[in-house]
Protein backbone atom coordinates (compact mmCIF):
# COMPACT_ATOMS: atom_id res chain seq x y z
CA UNK A 1 0.00 0.00 0.00
CA UNK A 2 1.35 3.35 -0.87
CA UNK A 3 0.82 6.56 0.99
CA UNK A 4 -0.84 7.18 4.33
CA UNK A 5 -3.63 5.07 5.76
CA UNK A 6 -7.05 6.58 5.73
CA UNK A 7 -7.71 8.62 8.84
CA UNK A 8 -10.95 7.44 10.46
CA UNK A 9 -11.70 10.95 11.62
CA UNK A 10 -11.30 12.50 8.16
CA UNK A 11 -14.26 12.90 5.82
CA UNK A 12 -14.33 11.90 2.18
CA UNK A 13 -15.63 14.08 -0.64
CA UNK A 14 -19.16 12.80 -0.21
CA UNK A 15 -19.22 13.36 3.53
CA UNK A 16 -18.68 9.80 4.74
CA UNK A 17 -16.02 9.32 7.45
CA UNK A 18 -13.05 7.56 5.84
CA UNK A 19 -12.00 4.23 7.31
CA UNK A 20 -15.39 3.60 8.92
CA UNK A 21 -17.51 0.79 7.49
CA UNK A 22 -20.74 2.01 5.93
CA UNK A 23 -23.80 0.08 4.90
CA UNK A 24 -24.20 -0.83 1.30
CA UNK A 25 -26.44 1.55 -0.53
CA UNK A 26 -30.04 0.41 -0.82
CA UNK A 27 -31.83 0.89 -4.10
CA UNK A 28 -34.97 2.96 -3.68
CA UNK A 29 -37.73 3.90 -6.05
CA UNK A 30 -37.29 7.27 -7.63
CA UNK A 31 -39.71 9.83 -6.17
CA UNK A 32 -42.84 10.36 -8.19
CA UNK A 33 -43.02 13.54 -10.29
CA UNK A 34 -44.60 15.76 -7.68
CA UNK A 35 -45.74 19.31 -7.25
CA UNK A 36 -42.21 20.48 -6.53
CA UNK A 37 -41.02 19.27 -9.90
CA UNK A 38 -43.97 20.85 -11.66
CA UNK A 39 -43.41 24.14 -9.88
CA UNK A 40 -39.85 24.23 -11.14
CA UNK A 41 -40.87 24.00 -14.78
CA UNK A 42 -40.02 27.17 -16.66
CA UNK A 43 -42.69 29.81 -17.13
CA UNK A 44 -42.77 32.39 -19.86
CA UNK A 45 -42.99 36.07 -19.04
CA UNK A 46 -45.20 37.52 -21.78
CA UNK A 47 -45.48 41.24 -22.49
CA UNK A 48 -48.54 42.48 -24.37
CA UNK A 49 -48.92 45.48 -26.61
CA UNK A 50 -50.74 48.58 -25.52
CA UNK A 51 -51.32 51.52 -27.84
CA UNK A 52 -50.31 54.26 -25.39
CA UNK A 53 -46.94 53.34 -23.91
CA UNK A 54 -43.94 54.76 -25.74
CA UNK A 55 -41.73 52.28 -27.58
CA UNK A 56 -38.58 53.85 -26.18
CA UNK A 57 -39.96 53.41 -22.67
CA UNK A 58 -40.57 49.70 -23.28
CA UNK A 59 -36.98 49.31 -24.50
CA UNK A 60 -35.66 50.98 -21.37
CA UNK A 61 -37.78 48.75 -19.13
CA UNK A 62 -36.52 45.60 -20.87
CA UNK A 63 -32.94 46.78 -20.53
CA UNK A 64 -33.32 47.71 -16.87
CA UNK A 65 -35.25 44.66 -15.74
CA UNK A 66 -33.62 41.93 -17.79
CA UNK A 67 -30.21 43.40 -18.58
CA UNK A 68 -30.72 43.09 -22.33
CA UNK A 69 -28.58 45.12 -24.68
CA UNK A 70 -30.17 47.77 -26.87
CA UNK A 71 -30.47 45.44 -29.87
CA UNK A 72 -32.23 42.62 -27.99
CA UNK A 73 -34.50 44.98 -26.09
CA UNK A 74 -35.48 46.74 -29.31
CA UNK A 75 -36.15 43.44 -31.10
CA UNK A 76 -38.44 42.29 -28.29
CA UNK A 77 -40.21 45.64 -28.16
CA UNK A 78 -40.86 45.46 -31.91
CA UNK A 79 -42.17 41.92 -31.54
CA UNK A 80 -44.61 43.16 -28.90
CA UNK A 81 -45.61 46.04 -31.14
CA UNK A 82 -45.99 44.04 -34.36
CA UNK A 83 -47.29 40.72 -33.08
CA UNK A 84 -49.19 41.93 -30.04
CA UNK A 85 -47.07 40.01 -27.57
CA UNK A 86 -43.60 38.59 -26.94
CA UNK A 87 -41.98 36.21 -24.51
CA UNK A 88 -39.33 38.36 -22.87
CA UNK A 89 -37.98 35.81 -20.38
CA UNK A 90 -38.34 32.17 -19.39
CA UNK A 91 -37.78 31.54 -15.72
CA UNK A 92 -38.82 29.35 -12.78
CA UNK A 93 -42.31 30.32 -11.70
CA UNK A 94 -41.37 32.27 -8.60
CA UNK A 95 -38.81 34.34 -10.49
CA UNK A 96 -41.18 34.81 -13.42
CA UNK A 97 -43.84 36.13 -11.06
CA UNK A 98 -41.39 38.66 -9.67
CA UNK A 99 -40.53 39.74 -13.22
CA UNK A 100 -44.21 40.20 -14.04
CA UNK A 101 -44.73 42.27 -10.91
CA UNK A 102 -41.79 44.48 -11.81
CA UNK A 103 -43.19 44.93 -15.32
CA UNK A 104 -46.54 45.84 -13.79
CA UNK A 105 -44.77 48.37 -11.60
CA UNK A 106 -43.56 50.02 -14.80
CA UNK A 107 -47.09 49.97 -16.18
CA UNK A 108 -46.61 47.29 -18.84
CA UNK A 109 -49.16 44.58 -19.57
CA UNK A 110 -47.47 41.31 -18.63
CA UNK A 111 -48.62 37.81 -17.84
CA UNK A 112 -47.14 34.40 -16.97
CA UNK A 113 -47.68 31.30 -19.04
CA UNK A 114 -46.33 27.80 -18.63
CA UNK A 115 -43.34 27.33 -20.89
Amino acid sequence: MCGASPDASAEGRLGYPLGVPVESPVRREAPARDATTVRDLPWNVVVWNDPVTLMTYVVLVFRRLFGYNQETATRLMLQVHNEGRAVVATQPREQAEVSVTRLHAFGLQATLAKG
Binding site: T56, V100, G107
Partner: protein, 152 residues
Protein backbone atom coordinates in the same frame (compact mmCIF):
# COMPACT_ATOMS: atom_id res chain seq x y z
CA UNK B 1 -40.08 74.61 -23.54
CA UNK B 2 -39.05 71.94 -21.04
CA UNK B 3 -35.54 70.60 -21.45
CA UNK B 4 -34.01 67.45 -20.04
CA UNK B 5 -30.35 66.54 -20.04
CA UNK B 6 -27.83 64.38 -18.28
CA UNK B 7 -25.30 66.39 -16.32
CA UNK B 8 -22.67 65.14 -13.87
CA UNK B 9 -24.30 61.75 -13.54
CA UNK B 10 -27.76 63.06 -12.84
CA UNK B 11 -30.86 63.92 -14.81
CA UNK B 12 -31.76 67.58 -15.00
CA UNK B 13 -35.34 68.49 -15.86
CA UNK B 14 -35.75 72.16 -16.66
CA UNK B 15 -39.28 73.51 -16.39
CA UNK B 16 -40.15 77.16 -16.02
CA UNK B 17 -42.89 78.39 -13.72
CA UNK B 18 -45.62 78.16 -16.35
CA UNK B 19 -44.57 74.65 -17.38
CA UNK B 20 -44.44 73.46 -13.78
CA UNK B 21 -47.91 74.83 -13.15
CA UNK B 22 -49.23 73.13 -16.27
CA UNK B 23 -47.64 69.84 -15.29
CA UNK B 24 -49.03 70.04 -11.76
CA UNK B 25 -52.48 70.65 -13.24
CA UNK B 26 -52.04 67.63 -15.50
CA UNK B 27 -50.93 65.43 -12.61
CA UNK B 28 -53.92 66.48 -10.54
CA UNK B 29 -56.35 66.11 -13.44
CA UNK B 30 -55.25 62.58 -14.21
CA UNK B 31 -53.97 61.19 -10.92
CA UNK B 32 -57.27 61.52 -9.11
CA UNK B 33 -59.09 60.12 -12.06
CA UNK B 34 -62.24 58.17 -11.26
CA UNK B 35 -61.30 55.94 -14.19
CA UNK B 36 -57.99 54.98 -12.58
CA UNK B 37 -58.89 51.39 -13.26
CA UNK B 38 -59.01 52.10 -16.99
CA UNK B 39 -58.20 49.50 -19.61
CA UNK B 40 -54.44 49.96 -19.46
CA UNK B 41 -54.13 50.29 -15.71
CA UNK B 42 -55.30 46.89 -14.61
CA UNK B 43 -52.69 44.18 -14.74
CA UNK B 44 -53.73 40.59 -15.07
CA UNK B 45 -50.91 38.11 -14.38
CA UNK B 46 -52.56 34.71 -14.87
CA UNK B 47 -55.27 33.40 -17.14
CA UNK B 48 -56.47 31.18 -14.31
CA UNK B 49 -58.89 33.34 -12.26
CA UNK B 50 -57.92 31.69 -8.97
CA UNK B 51 -54.20 32.20 -9.49
CA UNK B 52 -54.78 35.74 -10.67
CA UNK B 53 -56.90 36.57 -7.62
CA UNK B 54 -54.11 35.34 -5.39
CA UNK B 55 -51.55 37.34 -7.37
CA UNK B 56 -53.67 40.50 -7.07
CA UNK B 57 -54.09 39.92 -3.34
CA UNK B 58 -50.35 39.57 -2.84
CA UNK B 59 -49.05 42.30 -5.14
CA UNK B 60 -51.93 44.79 -5.44
CA UNK B 61 -51.23 46.75 -2.25
CA UNK B 62 -47.49 46.90 -2.96
CA UNK B 63 -48.03 48.18 -6.50
CA UNK B 64 -50.55 50.76 -5.30
CA UNK B 65 -48.02 52.08 -2.79
CA UNK B 66 -45.34 52.26 -5.48
CA UNK B 67 -47.61 54.14 -7.90
CA UNK B 68 -48.53 56.60 -5.17
CA UNK B 69 -44.87 57.07 -4.20
CA UNK B 70 -43.94 57.74 -7.84
CA UNK B 71 -46.61 60.42 -8.13
CA UNK B 72 -45.60 61.91 -4.80
CA UNK B 73 -41.99 62.18 -6.05
CA UNK B 74 -43.11 64.12 -9.13
CA UNK B 75 -45.38 66.40 -7.11
CA UNK B 76 -42.66 67.08 -4.56
CA UNK B 77 -40.07 67.93 -7.22
CA UNK B 78 -42.48 70.22 -9.04
CA UNK B 79 -43.56 72.01 -5.89
CA UNK B 80 -40.02 72.92 -4.90
CA UNK B 81 -40.46 75.90 -7.16
CA UNK B 82 -37.10 75.67 -8.96
CA UNK B 83 -36.69 75.78 -12.71
CA UNK B 84 -34.06 73.08 -12.53
CA UNK B 85 -35.00 69.76 -11.03
CA UNK B 86 -31.94 67.56 -10.54
CA UNK B 87 -32.62 63.90 -9.78
CA UNK B 88 -30.66 60.67 -9.58
CA UNK B 89 -31.46 57.73 -11.85
CA UNK B 90 -33.84 56.02 -9.43
CA UNK B 91 -35.82 59.22 -9.03
CA UNK B 92 -35.84 59.67 -12.80
CA UNK B 93 -37.30 56.17 -13.11
CA UNK B 94 -40.01 57.16 -10.62
CA UNK B 95 -40.80 60.12 -12.88
CA UNK B 96 -40.94 57.83 -15.90
CA UNK B 97 -43.31 55.38 -14.20
CA UNK B 98 -45.54 58.20 -13.00
CA UNK B 99 -45.65 59.91 -16.39
CA UNK B 100 -46.38 56.61 -18.08
CA UNK B 101 -49.24 55.91 -15.71
CA UNK B 102 -50.70 59.35 -16.32
CA UNK B 103 -50.50 58.75 -20.06
CA UNK B 104 -52.32 55.46 -19.62
CA UNK B 105 -55.09 57.28 -17.75
CA UNK B 106 -55.29 59.89 -20.52
CA UNK B 107 -55.32 57.16 -23.18
CA UNK B 108 -58.13 55.38 -21.38
CA UNK B 109 -60.17 58.57 -21.19
CA UNK B 110 -59.66 59.21 -24.87
CA UNK B 111 -60.88 55.71 -25.64
CA UNK B 112 -57.64 54.64 -27.28
CA UNK B 113 -57.73 50.92 -27.88
CA UNK B 114 -55.51 50.24 -30.87
CA UNK B 115 -52.23 51.27 -32.44
CA UNK B 116 -52.51 53.87 -35.17
CA UNK B 117 -55.08 55.87 -33.19
CA UNK B 118 -53.20 59.06 -34.08
CA UNK B 119 -54.36 58.71 -37.68
CA UNK B 120 -58.01 58.17 -36.91
CA UNK B 121 -58.75 60.84 -34.34
CA UNK B 122 -62.32 62.04 -34.30
CA UNK B 123 -62.93 65.78 -33.88
CA UNK B 124 -64.00 65.34 -30.26
CA UNK B 125 -60.82 63.49 -29.36
CA UNK B 126 -58.67 65.94 -31.29
CA UNK B 127 -60.06 68.78 -29.18
CA UNK B 128 -59.86 66.98 -25.85
CA UNK B 129 -57.55 68.28 -23.14
CA UNK B 130 -56.33 64.76 -22.55
CA UNK B 131 -54.81 64.64 -26.03
CA UNK B 132 -52.60 67.63 -25.26
CA UNK B 133 -51.73 66.08 -21.90
CA UNK B 134 -50.83 62.81 -23.57
CA UNK B 135 -48.55 64.62 -25.98
CA UNK B 136 -46.88 66.84 -23.37
CA UNK B 137 -46.29 63.95 -20.98
CA UNK B 138 -44.86 61.87 -23.81
CA UNK B 139 -42.50 64.63 -24.81
CA UNK B 140 -41.20 64.94 -21.25
CA UNK B 141 -40.95 61.17 -20.92
CA UNK B 142 -38.86 60.99 -24.11
CA UNK B 143 -36.50 63.61 -22.70
CA UNK B 144 -35.97 61.66 -19.49
CA UNK B 145 -35.50 58.43 -21.42
CA UNK B 146 -32.85 60.06 -23.55
CA UNK B 147 -31.08 61.42 -20.48
CA UNK B 148 -31.05 57.99 -18.86
CA UNK B 149 -29.55 56.21 -21.86
CA UNK B 150 -25.89 56.62 -20.85
CA UNK B 151 -26.62 54.90 -17.52
CA UNK B 152 -27.92 51.71 -19.10
Amino acid sequence: MARVRRYLGRVEIWLDKRERAALIDTVEALAESPDASGPWLTHRAYEDPGLDREYQRLTGPELAVLHEADLAAVREDLQRGHDRCRVDDERALAWLRALNRLRLVAGGRLGITEDGWEDTLGPQVAAADELAMLSDLGWLQEGILHALEPSL
